[in-house]
C-alpha cells in the first residue's frame, strides 16, 4: 500500500511539474473554466444580491395592507374610507400625539435616464405622508430634508441619485407634466433606495389618482398586534384587504425573481461549462500524449497503471481548481470590493438597484462546479493514460 501511495505521489508530481511544458494550453483551460464558473457565479451573485436587497427591505413590526388578491402595490387600490377604518384598528402603535403610526401611499411610475447607458427606464415615485419614515425601519434622510406637505418636492433614494440622471440634491427636473425639486437624499436598507418619494396629496393631484391610496403601512404593537389587526380586517366586511408583515411581503417578492435569475443563469453556465469541458479534455489528452513516453517508462520500471490515472486526474482537478479560484477572485474583486451595482425590473416594472453579492456559499458552488468540470474532463484521458501501451518506449 505504501509503495502504491508513493507511486501515485510520484505520478502526480510528474504531471503537475510538467504543466509548464504545456503552459498555454493549460492557461487556456484554466481561463475557459474560469469563464464558465465566473458566469455561474455572476448569476448566483445577482440572485443573492436581489434576495438580500428585498429581504433587507421588510420589517417584522410593520404590516402592509393591499387590496385582497393584489400581489404588488401597483395592482392594489384602497379607498379613503377604508384607510379611515384601518386607522381605527386595534393593535396599531401610536405616535406621541396618540395618532396611529400609519401611512397610506400611492405608487406611480415615471421615466428616468440611466447615467451609464443613457437608456430610459421606469422609476418608482411614491406619494407618502410624513409618517412614512416612522413606518419604515432604517430609512433616514442623509442629505437635505424631508419633503414639505403640499409641495412639488422630492426626496430620492441614494442609489437613484447615483445611477440616474438629474436626481441630484437641489436640482429641478420634470416628472410627468410637472417640475419637481430634489430637497433630500435618503438612505435605506433594500428596495426603498431605488425609489423617489414626494408628498402624497401632490402625487395624487398631479397624476390624477383620486382620493384613494394603493397601500397602507402600519406599525403594530408587540407580538399580538398583527394578529389583532388581521382579525379586525377579517371581521370588517368593508375591508377586503390582505394583511401581512412587510418582511413576508418582500420575501414573496424576491422568490419569483431569484428563481427566474437562476433559471437563466444555470443553463447559460452549463453551456459555457460544456465548452470548458471540451477544453479540459483537450488539455488533458495533450498532457497524456506529451507524457506517453514518460508513462510507458514508469510502467516498464514497474509502476502500475493506477498512478498514471491519478496523475492525470489530479492535474485536471488542479487546473479546474485554479480556474474556479480565478473566477472567485475576480468575482470578489469586482462584486464585493469594487461594489458593482445593477438595476433591474422589480415590483410594477420599475427599476430597483442592488449590489452583486458574492457570498461564501456562491463561491463554494462555483468551486464545486469547477471541480466537476475537472473531474469530467480528466476522467477519459486518465483512463487512457492508465492503459497506454508500454511498447512505445524507444520512440523519441
Amino acid at each position: 500500500m505504501g509503495s502504491l501511495f508513493r507511486q501515485i505521489r510520484a505520478a502526480i508530481a510528474l504531471n503537475i511539474l510538467s504543466i509548464p511544458q504545456r503552459l498555454w494550453l493549460s492557461v487556456a483551460t484554466v481561463g475557459s473554466i474560469a469563464l464558465a464558473v465566473g458566469v455561474l457565479m455572476a448569476f448566483l451573485s445577482l440572485a443573492e444580491g436581489f434576495r438580500n436587497m428585498l429581504q433587507g427591505t421588510g420589517s417584522d413590526t410593520v404590516a402592509i395592507l393591499l387590496r385582497d388578491g393584489a400581489t404588488v402595490e401597483i395592482n392594489s387600490g384602497i379607498s379613503r374610507d377604508q384607510v379611515r377604518l384601518v386607522e381605527a384598528a386595534p393593535g396599531l402603535a401610536v405616535d406621541a400625539a396618540g395618532d396611529p403610526l400609519l401611512s397610506g401611499e400611492v405608487y406611480v411610475t415615471v421615466d428616468a435616464k440611466k447615467r451609464n447607458s443613457g437608456a430610459s427606464a421606469n422609476l418608482s415615485l411614491r406619494g407618502v405622508t410624513p409618517a412614512a419614515l416612522q413606518v419604515r425601519d432604517g430609512v433616514r434622510v442623509v442629505d437635505g430634508r424631508m419633503v414639505a406637505p403640499g409641495s412639488n418636492e422630492l426626496i430620492v433614494g441614494r442609489r437613484v441619485s447615483d445611477q440616474f440622471v438629474g436626481f441630484d440634491l437641489g436640482r429641478e427636473l420634470v416628472l410627468g407634466n410637472s417640475v419637481w425639486r430634489v430637497v433630500g437624499i435618503f438612505a435605506a436598507e433594500g428596495v426603498f433606495e431605488s425609489e423617489v418619494w414626494a408628498d402624497l396629496d401632490t402625487v395624487r393631484n398631479l397624476f390624477n389618482r383620486g382620493s384613494g391610496v394603493q397601500s397602507v403601512r402600519a406599525r403594530f404593537t408587540g407580538a399580538d398586534g398583527l394578529a389583532a389587526l388581521q382579525a379586525y380586517v377579517e371581521a370588517e366586511p368593508r375591508l377586503n384587504l390582505d394583511v401581512q408583515t412587510e418582511a413576508e411581503f418582500y420575501a414573496d417578492q424576491s422568490s419569483g425573481t431569484v428563481t427566474l435569475i437562476s433559471y437563466f443563469g444555470w443553463p447559460l453556465a452549463i453551456c459555457l461549462a460544456i465548452g470548458a469541458l471540451a477544453g479540459a479534455i483537450n488539455a488533458m489528452n495533450s498532457s497524456v500524449e506529451s507524457r506517453a513516453r514518460e508513462t510507458a517508462t514508469l510502467r516498464a520500471i514497474g509502476f502500475r497503471g493506477v498512478p498514471a490515472f491519478f496523475g492525470v486526474m489530479v492535474e485536471a482537478l488542479f487546473l479546474a481548481f485554479l480556474g474556479g479560484l480565478l473566477a472567485t477572485l475576480c468575482g470578489y474583486l469586482v462584486f464585493n470590493v469594487a461594489g458593482w451595482s445593477v438595476s433591474t425590473l422589480g415590483e410594477g416594472f420599475t427599476q430597483v438597484v442592488f449590489d452583486f453579492t458574492l457570498t461564501p456559499a456562491v463561491a463554494l458552488t462555483g468551486l464545486v462546479a469547477a471541480l466537476v468540470i475537472g473531474l469530467l474532463g480528466g476522467l477519459a484521458p486518465a483512463v487512457r493514460a492508465a492503459r497506454l501501451p508500454i511498447l512505445q518506449l524507444g520512440a523519441r
Partner: protein, 231 residues
C-alpha cells in the same frame, strides 16, 4: 557453464500489421546465462527489440515458455509482471527516457518508490548508484542540464539502483558520440564484471557489440550463431 537466469523455449511471436500477419519468432529458444554480457546485433526488423521486450516482460509470446530463475512468467498478469520487473530487471533506453521535470537523483530514485525502503535508505542507494556511474556531483541537475552521455549514465544509475540481476539495454549508445559511447560501454562492462549483473544489449554498432563477452546475431527471427542455433 552457469545456470541460465533466463530461458526462452520454443517462443513464437507475431504481429498483425495492416491486415497482414508478420511472424517475428517461430519456436525461438535461447538461454541467458547468469553473469553473461550478451550483445545482439541484426538488421532492422530482425526481432531484436521484440526479444528484449519478451525478456523484460513488456510483451507476451503467442506460444512457448519464458522462464526466469525457474519460474515461468509468460502467463503472469500485468500487475505481477510489474512487480517482477521492479525487483529483477533494469532497463536502459536509447533516448534515456528520463523525467525532464525531475533532478537526476529523483530520476534514479523512481524504481525505489516501488520498494519499502525508508527515505533515508533510498537516498543512500541513489547516492551509491550515482557514484557508480560517476555522477555524484550532478545529482541535483535536471536532464536538460546534462550532456547525452551524462543523461545515459543517469539512466544506467536508475536501472541498477534497485539492484536487479538482469539489465536490458536497447541501443544504449545509439544516440551518443564515440567517446560517450565508450564511457557507457565501460560502465556496462564494470557492472557485469564487478557486480555480476547479467547484461543483454541490443545494438547496431559493431564496436559496441564487441565489448560484450558474447556476440549474437539475429536475422529474420533466428540466431545465426551456431552455438545458439543448436539450442
Amino acid at each position: 557453464m552457469t545456470d541460465p537466469i533466463m530461458r526462452l523455449e520454443g517462443v513464437c511471436k507475431g504481429y498483425r500489421r495492416g491486415g497482414e500477419e508478420i511472424q517475428i519468432f517461430d519456436r525461438l529458444t535461447i538461454d541467458i546465462e547468469t553473469g553473461a554480457f550478451i550483445s545482439i546485433m541484426g538488421p532492422s526488423g530482425s526481432g531484436k527489440t521484440t526479444l528484449l521486450n519478451l525478456l523484460g516482460g513488456l510483451d507476451k509470446p503467442d506460444d512457448g515458455r519464458i522462464v526466469f530463475d525457474g519460474q515461468e512468467i509468460q502467463g503472469w498478469g500485468e500487475s505481477r509482471l510489474a512487480k517482477w520487473r521492479a525487483a529483477n530487471v533494469g532497463f536502459i533506453f536509447q533516448f534515456y527516457n528520463l523525467m525532464p521535470s525531475m533532478s537526476a537523483a529523483r530520476n534514479v530514485e523512481l524504481p525505489l518508490l516501488l520498494t519499502n525502503y525508508s527515505a533515508k535508505e533510498r537516498r543512500r542507494r541513489v547516492a551509491t548508484a550515482l557514484e557508480v556511474v560517476g555522477l555524484s556531483d550532478r545529482a541535483r541537475h535536471r536532464p536538460r542540464e546534462l550532456s547525452g552521455g551524462q543523461q545515459q549514465r543517469v539512466g544506467i544509475a536508475r536501472a541498477i539502483v534497485a539492484d536487479p540481476r538482469l539489465l536490458l539495454a536497447d541501443e544504449p549508445t545509439g544516440d551518443l558520440d564515440r567517446q560517450s559511447a565508450d564511457e557507457i560501454l565501460s560502465i556496462l562492462s564494470l557492472l557485469n564484471r564487478d557486480l555480476n549483473k547479467t547484461v543483454v544489449m541490443v545494438t547496431h554498432d559493431p564496436q559496441a557489440a564487441s565489448r560484450a563477452r558474447q556476440e549474437l546475431h539475429l536475422d529474420k527471427g533466428r540466431f545465426t550463431d551456431a552455438q545458439v542455433a543448436a539450442q
